[in-house]
Each structure stands twice: as structure tokens, then as C-alpha cells.
């Protein structure tokens, strides 16, 4: 364990660490553009320059620690060089922060204000390059904003292994370019490069000019796209920035989804499916309880459901593997003794979707199969004959395969033709409207939080199960 001095303070560094890693571990911030903890060291941005007493200036990201080393991260010399580096980095950068989606969360902007603050001293015309370059159906590239840190190319070579990006030419006319035979659109992890980009060069088409990031706040959540259960941030408008004059649906919609770093599950990455959670949660919602297609008051629907449960001899339940641990627990406590319950898969792989890989994506496209299977077995292909009541919780049910003549209680969050066929239909909330936990395939439990209000009429399944368990009133 070499002991090193950083800014006069003694720290125990680990052998093999770089000065940058040692400084970060000690809580000392060293600015970086090209360095990323999960990528190889490129050492091209020069932003992490530090001074080693007796050895001069060098980049901290590529400097191994050695015993007795005396490092200065904020000496006048270092500050002067950082200012110079920022002058070089902004030499051909358009500084169009006013129309750039990255503004507000941009390393270049932050470092400029923190370490430079001066206008460009160059009088040379800036090099013009391509803007809105089409990298894929999801990502646009602005080569003028690009500072050539090569995080994106390294990501596609080292993490997603799609090898979809490279650098063409040299010097100030270098450009990031896609590879003709390996389209970035085929890389299911491509959107991570938008987060990785330390400037606004890589832009998400979904998010392009949609909103300024300072109007948004993140709510920690869990991606329900597969059994990995990646931790994500769901970004939505801050309450104080709710729009009043424009479409108020904006206040209740997902602006974007980004990874929430979780070393136990997904590290700093998520796949593109996780970026598209709005496609799942913002489908049209069911908000009215119904009896065989006729809207009724909630209490009427609940009462009818209780009657059916009370009258059934062989009730069977198909439990959702999109239910949270809390909801599954509520079902088991309230109705577990009444129903013979099986686990139903709400979601199956879609055509063209990557089934499984070694990075994150799992073949089971449901978030809580592990917790559901801990309670119940998977539904058999043929449900037992003689079943006279089926409670279906969530999507993905093959209604044609249900036992003939059985009554149906259906809990679903979305508008679907089947809703109207159920004897009792009850609308439920979705993940973004409640708190809860999922257990992923490794047994890791991750929590999600509510960020939107439930639409009026929708109910949490947890509360529904409790009220269904109350005894039916006896009719005189």
C-alpha cells in the first residue's frame, strides 16, 4: 500500500492504482473528459493534468501511484494549464449552449465556469463540420461540438462490442463516423453513448429539443424490461416547473430515462429498451371499473368480485410477474388461502428484440419473476378442469386457454379489448405511480418510487387485494 501525498495530505493508495483513481478514492475531484472508470484509458483530453513535485505536470489518469509521490491537483501551475487546455478544447467548439440539449449537465460547460471563465483567445475561424449527422434512428451526431474524447468509440469497442464507431482522418478535421457494415442501430446499448458524451455532440432523437434539463428531476426506479432489473432514473418535470399553458400531459410524462449506477446490477449502463419505458407506461390507460363491459362504481365492482370469490368452489389466480414484492405479498396474505395461484408471464420477447446477452439483457422480459416464483409455480399449459373462477392480474394472459365457463375477474392497467369481457374488471396503477421493490434474477432487491399521480379511477393492486379479501355482504 504505497503512501502518497495529495495536496499535502497523506493517503494510502492501492498498488496499481492511478493517481486519478487514488485522488477520487480520497474524495479529491480531478476534472476529466475522456477518462471513464469503466473504459480503457485514452489520455487524450489532458484535462486531468496534475503536478508531481520534482517531476512536473502529467495526466493523472495514466500515472501509476508510487510511494512517497507528492501530487498537487490545484497548484497555480495546474490551474494555468487547465485554463490553456480548455482554450484548446473550445478552439473549434461552437459554444452553442443556448440550443444544446446537454446545457445544464455538460462537463465542458461546468469546467469552463470552474476552471477558465474566459472567452476564447483565438482569432482563427472555427473549423466547420457536419451537424445532425445521422448515426442511427436513435442518435444524432454534431461533429462541431465533439471534442474527440473517444468515449463513444471505446464504449462500442469495449462494452457493447458492436464496434459500430470509429474516427476518420486526423487533426482538427477528425470526425467520429459509423461503420458501414456494423450499424449503430443494431447495438441495443447504443444510447449509453449519449450519456457518456461529455459535451452535446451525441444527441438522443427522443429527447432532442424536448426540454431543458434544469426543468427536470430524476426519480429512482427499476427498469421492468427484463429480469435484470436495472436501476434507472426516470426524469420528469419538477413540480415548480409544471407547465400551465401548454399540454399539461407533459407534467405527467416521462421526459427520458437514464441509468442509475448500481454496481450490484447494471453498473452505469442500461439497454435501449430501458430508455423507452414511456412506450410501456404511457399507453392508453383503463380508468373505469366494469361489469361485463358496463362501467360501474368501484364499490359495486368490488362487491360483485367478492360475491364471485365467495361463491367459487375452485378459484384460480394468475399472478403478475410485474407485481412488486409488496403487491405479491399483499396477494398472498389477503387471497393466497382462497385461490390456487400460478405465476403468469406478463411480457414475452418481441420480434426483433435481443433475447439475451452477456452484458445485461435477460431472456425473461419480466421484472419480478424471481419473487413471484418464490411464492407460486409457473402456470401449467392447461389450467385444471373444473376451475369456476379465474382472477387474472396483469397482461399477457391467453384468455382463449382459460377453462370454459369459468367466471373472470381481471385486473389491468391499460385499455384492452379483453377488459370488457371480464365479469369484473378493475383498473390498476402502473409502476411509475407507486412505490415498491422488484427482486431480480440474481436475488438483488431494488426499489422504485412514484413520480406521477394515479389517473382517477385507477387503484393500487395492493389495496385491491385487501378489499377483495373482505367478506361479501349477505344479501337479504
Amino acid at each position: 500500500m504505497p503512501e502518497i501525498l495529495i495536496n499535502g495530505q497523506k493517503f494510502e493508495a492501492e498498488a496499481g492504482q492511478t493517481v486519478l483513481e487514488a485522488a477520487r478514492a480520497a474524495g479529491i475531484f480531478v476534472p476529466t473528459f475522456c477518462w471513464h472508470p469503466q473504459l480503457s484509458t485514452a489520455g487524450n483530453c489532458r484535462m486531468c493534468l496534475v503536478e508531481v513535485e520534482g517531476r512536473g505536470l502529467d495526466i493523472a489518469c495514466n500515472m501509476p501511484v508510487s510511494a512517497g509521490m507528492r501530487v498537487l491537483t490545484d497548484s497555480p501551475e495546474v490551474r494555468a494549464h487547465r485554463r490553456a487546455i480548455l482554450q484548446f478544447i473550445t478552439l473549434n467548439h461552437p459554444v452553442d449552449c443556448g440550443i444544446c440539449d446537454k446545457a445544464g449537465e455538460c462537463s465542458l460547460q461546468d469546467y469552463h465556469y470552474a476552471y477558465n471563465g474566459e472567452a476564447s483567445i483565438s482569432a482563427e475561424p472555427k473549423v466547420r463540420s457536419t451537424k445532425y449527422y445521422n448515426l442511427s434512428s436513435r442518435i444524432l451526431l454534431d461533429n462541431e461540438r465533439c471534442i474527440l474524447c473517444l468515449r463513444c468509440t471505446r464504449f462500442t469497442h469495449e462494452i457493447s462490442k458492436s464496434m459500430a464507431l470509429g474516427v476518420e482522418s486526423r487533426g482538427d478535421v477528425s470526425v467520429i463516423r459509423p461503420v458501414a457494415d456494423r450499424p449503430l442501430g443494431d447495438d441495443p446499448y447504443s444510447d449509453n453513448i449519449v450519456d457518456l458524451c461529455p459535451v452535446g455532440a451525441l444527441q438522443s432523437r427522443q429527447f432532442l429539443h424536448k426540454t431543458r434539463v434544469w426543468y427536470l428531476e430524476p426519480t429512482p426506479s427499476v427498469c421492468p424490461g427484463c429480469a435484470r432489473g436495472c436501476s434507472v432514473n426516470i426524469w420528469h418535470r419538477k413540480p415548480e416547473w409544471h407547465v400551465k399553458t401548454l399540454d399539461p400531459a407533459q407534467n405527467q410524462s416521462i421526459a427520458r430515462v437514464t441509468p442509475l449506477e448500481n454496481p450490484a446490477v447494471n453498473g452505469p449502463w442500461i439497454c435501449n429498451k430501458g430508455r423507452d419505458l414511456a412506450r410501456i407506461f404511457e399507453r392508453r390507460r383503463a380508468t373505469e371499473p366494469m361489469l361485463q363491459g358496463s362501467p360501474v362504481a368501484l364499490e359495486t365492482a368490488l362487491e360483485r368480485a367478492r360475491e364471485l370469490i365467495g361463491a367459487a368452489r375452485h378459484p384460480l389466480a394468475l399472478v403478475s410477474n410485474w407485481g412488486s414484492n409488496e403487491e405479491l405479498d399483499a396477494f398472498q396474505r389477503s387471497l393466497g388461502a382462497v385461490f390456487t395461484a400460478y405465476v403468469k408471464s406478463d411480457s414475452v420477447p418481441q420480434p426483433g428484440e435481443r433475447l439475451e446477452d452477456e452484458l445485461l439483457i435477460r431472456a425473461d422480459k419480466n421484472p419480478n419473476s424471481a419473487a413471484a416464483r418464490a411464492l407460486y409455480a409457473d402456470a401449467p399449459a392447461r389450467l385444471p378442469e373444473g376451475t369456476d373462477l379465474v382472477l387474472v392480474w396483469g397482461e399477457g394472459c391467453d384468455f382463449g386457454a382459460l377453462p370454459r365457463g369459468a367466471r373472470l375477474i381481471f385486473l389491468n392497467a391499460y385499455l384492452a379489448p379483453e377488459n370488457g369481457h371480464a365479469d369484473v374488471f378493475l383498473p390498476t396503477s402502473v409502476q411509475t405511480e407507486r412505490d415498491g421493490h422488484y427482486t431480480n434474477f440474481q436475488g438483488v432487491i431494488s426499489g422504485f418510487h412514484a413520480c406521477f399521480a394515479k389517473p382517477s379511477g385507477a387503484l393500487d393492486a395492493e389495496a385491491l387485494f385487501r378489499s377483495l379479501a373482505a367478506p361479501a355482504r349477505v344479501h337479504a
Binding site: 464496434m163 470509429g166 463516423r177
Partner: protein, 154 residues
């Protein structure tokens, strides 16, 4: 490229496994020596042979100005355009050569005798301005010495 495969195999044996991308540069150089330039088809073939993505070959080709993507004339004049040579008058020399040959940098004279190029540093700053005539250095250039040089070439 086919004729070089045996040579490339021998070259590959000298590198540890997993370092295929290190072979891009020497292989491209041999291709250029044989053909005079690197053709589009060579990129695909070399990428397939080495098992590296084609972009890695493209990156190397576009980085080094010494690689040519098209055939050149009998005499290839590569004039350095970097700092030392520029300060010693290289820009004027390029203009002089353009007028003498009647072609812009990157082009070949219609008779196929001369190709004029501007290139990055030739590592000859001590004798700037310098150019490469095919594989030979010509140094301490002046418009007069360039004229004399052109006189010698057929």
C-alpha cells in the same frame, strides 16, 4: 492482396495473439508497395484476414497522409505543410508547384507524370522546407531548386 497473404501469415506469427490490430499498418504498407495505392477492396480483405473491424483499417488509412487511395503519377511530390516547413516558405512552394504542374494538391497531371500532394510532418524540420519525391527526400527547397528538380524528371 492475395499474393501477399503468405507474407502476412509470417508477419502474424511474429505478433502475440490478440494484437491483430497492430498488423494493420505493416500490411497496408506492403499493399501500397505492391499496388501503388490501397484499393477499397483491400480494406475489406485485410479486415477479414486480420479479424478486425473495417473501421480500424479506415482509421489508419485516413490518419496517415502517406497512404494513397488512388493511383499516383510516375513522380509523386509530397510537400510537407507543417510548422517548420511553412515558416520556411512551404506554402509558397506549393503555390509554385501548382503553377508549374498545372494541378492542385491531390491531383495528377493529365500525362500521368506528376502527382502533387501536401502531407503532414516528414520529420525533416532541420532541412525545411522539404518534400518527398517517391521514396527520396529533397531538402532545403527554393523555387529555383524545385525548378531544377522538375527539369531532371522525365
Amino acid at each position: 492482396m492475395k499474393s501477399l497473404l503468405k507474407e502476412f501469415e509470417a508477419l502474424r506469427a511474429r505478433f502475440p495473439a490478440g494484437f491483430e490490430s497492430s498488423l494493420v499498418l505493416p500490411c497496408l504498407r506492403r499493399i501500397q508497395e505492391e499496388r501503388g495505392y490501397v484499393a477499397d477492396g483491400d480494406i475489406e480483405e485485410l479486415a477479414a484476414f486480420l479479424g478486425v473491424p473495417a473501421i480500424q483499417v479506415e482509421e489508419v488509412l485516413s490518419f496517415y497522409t502517406q497512404f494513397r487511395r488512388r493511383p499516383v503519377g510516375r513522380w509523386h511530390l509530397q510537400v510537407c505543410r507543417n510548422v517548420s516547413c511553412s515558416m520556411r516558405g512551404a506554402e509558397g512552394l506549393v503555390g509554385h508547384l501548382e503553377r508549374r504542374l498545372g494541378v492542385a494538391p491531390g491531383a495528377t497531371t493529365p500525362d500521368g507524370r506528376f502527382t502533387l500532394s501536401t502531407v503532414e510532418c516528414l520529420g525533416s524540420c532541420g532541412t525545411a522546407p522539404a518534400l518527398m519525391l517517391n521514396d527520396r527526400y529533397v531538402e532545403n527547397l527554393t523555387p529555383e531548386s524545385v525548378d531544377a528538380l522538375l527539369q531532371e524528371l522525365d
